[in-house]
């Protein structure tokens, strides 16, 4: 708890720096990553982040120490070579994109590990810091490094904000962009540069292995919550920054812990929560809305049964008989009866249930929709009368008042359905 307060009250200026750095980095990479996620280029981000490792090692070799400028330049160049190579291979060979990306990723990463191992054997005392590039260590970043990374993040954020319209076009409809004379090749080149930059500045904090997660997961998680671009970008940035800060906190409290994996753990948590509970596409809310729909259909069917009994001259049905209509669904049926009773659609009179005025009117509507649909199928789609019931059983719950009006007009306000049953309307004599 003490650590928690110490960290989040930002008493320590070095923590302020780290948090500021990780915030900028989070915004920048979430921003770029969301576009590449929308552009279905998620794998390319993964390939680039693995491919920067040889560049880091070569930068280290040239500088002879952990010089951030050498390392960033090396990483950027080797990420650039990988990106260029993958698009060159795609243009000039018949290999599919996933093959190319998988190959580039493993070849570059393998080469990087070879270099890293040989560096470790060389006995250079500075080599210890290089290991943190694999899984990342946000706490170990020096202030001067942070200036560089933060500055580059700002560049990414500013460029993407200024060119939002161009990148939107690049992802949604590049052909059209070309048709209106925009330099789409240059725009997509610039985007690749930004993506490599985002990877390069993230590697020290997150590490090459997991950097792709920081690019892609925020956008993917945020997509569950919104279907507009601007809120999507903002939400992705929020997820990314929160995970970044939480991950940094963990590696602050537990010094042996690398930052990258923890950032990814928190990111995945956000993604999982979004997947489960987002109001539109989360699986829990989808489960509940389906359940709600099924309850309503059950109630509708019950009302219909009561109405048909009334058509047959019986004023109401005994409760027992109603339960028998829906075997194995006793709990459901009892819930429906309670609900309908509460909403005053039905009345219970000594174990006999009958429709109220309000109930008759609603039951009539359901029966009317059912029979109108049957007639429509029969008349307009030439479906035999004995084949129309099942479809009507589903559609009666779905047809809106506008569709109903359209059906009535189309069928010219019919009185009988294909089974010669009356299509009931409000002025019907059953009332």
């Amino acid at each position: 708890m003490e650590d928690f307060i110490y960290f989040f009250t930002f008493q320590d200026p070095s923590i302020v720096w780290v948090v500021l750095g990780i915030t900028l980095l989070g915004i920048g990479s979430a921003y770029v990553g969301t576009f590449s996620f929308l552009d279905k280029k998620a794998l390319l981000g993964d390939a680039i982040s693995h491919a920067v490792l040889p560049g880091i090692c070569l930068g280290f070799m040239l500088a002879g120490e952990k010089n951030p400028v050498y390392i960033v330049t090396g990483a950027f160049l080797s990420g650039g070579v990988a990106t260029f190579l993958s698009s060159w291979l795609k243009r000039n060979t018949k290999l599919s994109e996933d093959t190319i990306i998988a190959t580039i990723l493993s070849v570059f990463f393998g080469f990087g590990i070879v270099l890293l191992t040989s560096l470790q054997k060389s006995g250079n005392p500075e080599i210890a810091g290089l290991n943190s590039f694999i899984f990342g260590n946000a706490i170990g970043i020096s202030e001067s490094d942070l200036m560089l990374y933060g500055g580059l993040s700002l560049v990414i954020i500013v460029v993407l904000t200024l060119m939002l319209k161009e990148f939107r076009l690049m992802v949604f409809d590049p052909e059209y962009g070309k048709a209106i004379g925009f330099p789409m090749k240059a725009i997509s080149f610039l985007f690749n540069v930004l993506m490599i930059l985002a990877v390069v500045i993230g590697i020290q904090a997150i590490g090459v292995v997991l950097m792709a997660a920081l690019l892609i997961t925020p956008g993917a998680a945020a997509r569950f919550w919104t279907d507009r671009l601007n809120p999507l970008l903002i939400l992705a940035a929020v997820f990314s920054v929160l995970s970044g800060i939480l991950g940094t906190y963990v590696s602050f409290v537990l010094p042996q812990m690398p930052t990258g994996p923890w950032v990814v753990v928190f990111l995945s948590m956000f993604a999982l929560i979004s997947f489960l509970i987002s109001p539109k596409s989360g699986i829990i809310s989808r489960y509940f809305s389906r359940k709600k729909y099924l309850r309503k259909t059950h109630r509708d069917h019950l009302m219909k049964a009561l109405y048909k009994a009334k058509e047959g001259g019986k004023n109401g049905l005994p409760v027992e008989e109603i339960y028998e209509l829906y075997p194995y669904q006793k709990a459901e049926t009892s819930k429906s009866i309670k609900y309908l009773d509460r909403s005053q659609f039905i009345v219970k009179n000594q174990y006999v249930i009958s429709l109220t005025e309000k109930g008759i009117s609603d039951a009539m509507r359901i029966v009317r929709l059912h029979r109108l649909w049957e007639l429509y199928l029969n008349e307009s789609m030439n479906i035999a009368p004995d084949h129309v019931h099942d479809s009507a059983e589903q559609l009666e719950h779905l047809i809106t008042p506008e569709l109903e009006a359209l059906l009535e007009k189309r069928l010219n306000y019919p009185t009988l359905d294909p089974h010669q049953e009356t299509i009931p309307r409000e002025n019907h004599d059953l009332r």
């Binding site: 929308l38 279905k40 200024l162 060119m163 939002l164 319209k165 161009e166 939107r168 076009l169 992802v171 949604f172 409809d173 052909e175 059209y176 962009g177 070309k178 048709a179 209106i180 004379g181 925009f182 330099p183 997509r223 919104t226 279907d227 507009r228 671009l229 999507l232």
Partner: protein
């Protein structure tokens, strides 16, 4: 049966287009008058979309050139509007109807400048013209095929161009919408704009177009509807591919390079 015109709004000179090694359009040479509603007819794989894309400079031709308003394409792009096929984009992209239609104003805005109130008004007006005013804020994935098509047409209208090139704008559109859109296009041509439409249905083509281009890997006909709409030309267009031409195409495809490219 190819009618050439004086002072054409669009001139296509001896245009051959290939995808990789595969020639898909052979030596198309035609010219079009302004202010007409022009239909491009032909069977599947006849090169209709390819012709439109080549006019827009989206595919580099193997040989030949295109001139619009008597100028090279890049000088007059802002006066040309393009409607791509509906399937060419991912409609799950997070955007509203208005967002997409606003893209029509990007060309005039140029790079870096953001669309403002004026652009929004243009977009709203364009949506009204295609009868989609009620869908301004709708997410594009929630639209029906016909509505998506109308959003694309509205985007083209927002460009306020003089020449419109539309690739299959009636695919997946119901009859009443088709008629409404055709009426809109006729109003546009009456106002002096030129509209070129890749189209499938010969029946509605007879009713609505002023001028027809018939394609089947090569140019079969180009001229006023009354002159070219006859059985012989329709048979040439739709009566199967020229056997010899197909075999030459196959032969070229099997080569490692394109011998037609200079």
């Amino acid at each position: 049966m190819i009618t050439q015109v004086e002072n054409p709004i669009l001139e296509i000179h001896d245009l051959t287009v290939s995808y990789d090694q595969n020639p898909v359009l052979w030596n198309v040479d035609l010219s079009l008058p302004g202010g007409k509603l022009v239909g491009i007819l032909g069977p599947n794989g006849a090169g209709k979309s390819t012709l439109i894309k080549a006019i827009m400079g989206l595919i580099a031709p193997t040989s030949g050139y295109v001139k619009v308003f008597d100028k090279p394409l890049n000088e007059v792009r802002s006066r040309i509007s393009y409607v791509p096929q509906r399937e060419s984009v991912d409609w799950n992209f997070p955007a509203s109807v208005l967002d997409v239609v606003m893209m029509g104003t990007y060309g005039k805005l140029g790079l870096f400048r953001r669309p403002g109130k004026k652009e929004k008004d243009i977009a709203l007006k364009s949506l009204e013209q295609v009868g989609m005013s009620g869908f301004v804020k709708r997410q594009i994935s929630e639209l029906s095929g016909g509505q998506q098509q109308r959003v694309f047409i509205a985007r083209a209208l927002a460009q306020e161009a003089d020449l419109y090139l539309m690739d299959e704008p009636f695919a997946g559109v119901d009859m009443s919408t088709e008629t409404a859109i055709f009426q809109l296009l006729q109003e546009m041509t009456a106002a002096g704009k030129t509209v070129i439409v890749v189209h499938h249905d010969i029946h509605s083509a007879m009713n609505f177009f002023d001028w027809l281009i018939m394609l089947n890997l090569h140019l079969v006909a180009s001229g006023p509807k009354e002159l070219v709409m006859n059985e012989e030309l329709l048979r040439k267009t739709y009566g199967g591919k020229l056997n010899l031409l197909t075999r030459v195409t196959d032969m070229i495809r099997q080569k490692d390079f394109n011998p037609l490219k200079s």
